[in-house]
Symmetry: C2
């Protein structure tokens, strides 16, 4: 049971790919065939050379003065992410958070198919929440055998997360998308992706704090200038 899985190569690029994909799909829908690195850069808020480097990684070559072929870019991004085929998933914990993930159309559009949800509250067992059947957690093994499940989405209370995780690992799950605040320990061959709102909150807080500090420094500077002037 290790806490850390193998490091992902090219992580910054991978993190940008969904955004590229979204922009490219918009262009494709408008009937565009080619896109320049500078166009993508402007849309993404990054610089063009970085876009070209990302595209180089996707092994797509462009044409000077024309740009890069949009359909091929889309195909290569999907290939890079393993998104050519849709992925079947189970979701655990049909509370507020679980519900909001079941309702998320964006993830569906990216090929995530939540084929069943689980809860241990008998009141939540039902034939369908956002079109997904909800089962008692006791039926996990039975239903795992019936589906080819690529990942489990965890939205249960943090205190139940490790136990559930162990059960999932025992059932042979390879990917866990962890929306709980629990730090899960898993074997090396299981991949965990933790989704922690505290991180985004921390980054935003830190930037706001820095900005306010720099503004008040500037104000002091302004006052000084005013006094000097």
């Amino acid at each position: 049971m290790k806490k850390q899985n193998i490091k992902m190569d090219k992580l910054p690029t991978v993190r940008r790919l969904p955004d590229y994909l979204f922009i490219l799909q918009e262009l494709a829908a408008k009937g565009e065939a080619y896109v320049s690195s500078s166009y993508l850069a402007e849309k993404m808020g990054i610089i063009a050379i970085l876009v070209r480097k990302d595209i180089e990684l996707l092994r797509v070559t462009g044409t000077p003065r024309v740009g890069y072929p949009i359909e091929l870019l889309i195909k290569r991004i999907e290939n890079f992410l393993g998104w050519e085929a849709s992925m079947d998933a189970f979701l655990f914990g049909v509370g507020q958070l679980g519900n909001s993930i079941l309702a998320n159309r964006d993830l569906m559009n990216l090929g995530l198919r939540i084929v069943a949800a689980f809860d241990n509250d008998p009141g939540k067992i039902s034939s369908s929440v956002h079109g997904v059947p909800v089962f008692d957690i006791s039926r996990l093994k039975e239903l795992m055998a019936k589906h080819d499940i690529g990942m489990a989405i965890l939205c249960v209370p943090a205190e139940n997360a490790q136990d559930l995780c162990d059960e999932l690992v025992a059932c042979g799950i390879r990917g866990i998308w962890n929306f709980t605040s629990a730090r899960l320990a898993v074997p090396e061959n299981v991949i965990i992706q933790k989704e922690d709102p505290a991180i985004g909150y921390a980054v935003l807080s830190a930037r706001l704090t820095r900005m306010q500090a720099s503004e008040s420094r500037q104000n002091i500077g302004d006052n000084k200038r005013a006094l000097n002037g």
Copy 2:
């Protein structure tokens, strides 16, 4: 209107701080006074020297053979993130996602106080959702004047996000936590933190794909060895 705000310095460290904080608070609750870098490293799944570098950035010094003072670490992390005081926020869009954020106790514990929520559906206006009053969006300006709001949390449909964002900027908001899939354009002095589940999904997908590929390569290797043997 620029899409990109100024780059955050020391972003990788900032992203680790909430996790440190959580571990340190657990230790403090158990009555511990000191912690070693190797203990923190093991809990976080990183190496000890990286922990020491992060702590160096927090300007906390330790004692050889004893470790680092836990209370001071906590204080310095909170200071670094601007978390000494709680932050008042408005939340926009009381759908599934908005509800799940209103229900999130972890964020409350980090000092985020959502003092009001807004929606344009009359059916959702109520005196309290998870203890937070829900107002019609028309009352935004009036209520902005009454509170010292540090950030806005956006959970509205993506197609309404830019309009709302413009209105918030006009009201003087400085920080926007964007849970919609919209790419928002704001002036340079407004900070946006986008929370995009597609990124986590992409990283997990990519790692699963890589792992499967390396495993099947290994199997081929095994077969070859078997054939050769």
